[in-house]
Symmetry: C2
Subunit: 117 residues, 2 copies
């Protein structure tokens, strides 16, 4: 059995990872912003992001000292693109996901990281 497809579902089958994906459906984020919303340790968030990236659901780009994460729904296999499209439109009736979306609007990496400017 080709593990590729199973890994996509495995990546999505953790509450915190599903929250991350829905947060990234709002906008591009760095790890510290995600950590702030989820209230988990650095290492845990980093591991979740690695699992999502390895499954092909995320892409990351370096931006100075930050790494920006975003959903990978522009490239890649059609089935993954369709699935991400479906997720974008779904699960908004979930309490935790709605709260994350609200919290996310107040989160700013410059505040978290004590940058004065």
């Amino acid at each position: 059995m080709n593990r590729e497809y199973v890994n996509i579902f495995k990546a999505l089958s953790d509450p915190n990872r599903l929250r991350i994906v829905k947060m990234l459906a709002e906008r591009e984020l760095c790890m510290c912003e995600i950590r702030e919303v989820l209230d988990l340790s650095n290492s845990t968030v980093s591991k979740h992001l690695t699992i999502l990236r390895d499954a092909g659901l995320l892409l990351d780009t370096k931006d100075g000292k930050w790494v920006n994460f975003r959903l990978n729904d522009k490239s890649g296999p059609g089935s993954i693109r369709s699935l991400i499209g479906l997720i974008r439109k779904s699960f908004d009736d979930d309490e935790a996901i709605r709260k994350d979306a609200v919290k996310l609007r107040r989160v700013n990496r410059r505040h978290i990281c004590n940058i004065k400017s």
Copy 2:
């Protein structure tokens, strides 16, 4: 976090369960037909079917001494229906899934269960 959505992905994040779902996309099946194709023990197949049913992906109907399992894409929440629709159209490039589909055409519950008629 509402576990409902996570449970759907969890149900799909096992190779054998994804194979079962794709088999049921072909046609309604009883447990013994699924067991024949997957070559796993009764109890293991039964447990997988329970997990898929609890996640809301399957329905079952009694038919004499058999229980028929089928995909639940006629009723239930929209997001599950959409996801099942997506799965129906996807993953057909997977080797194991293609082989299962071929094998399934030769499987007949009456042969497996030694019914003479």
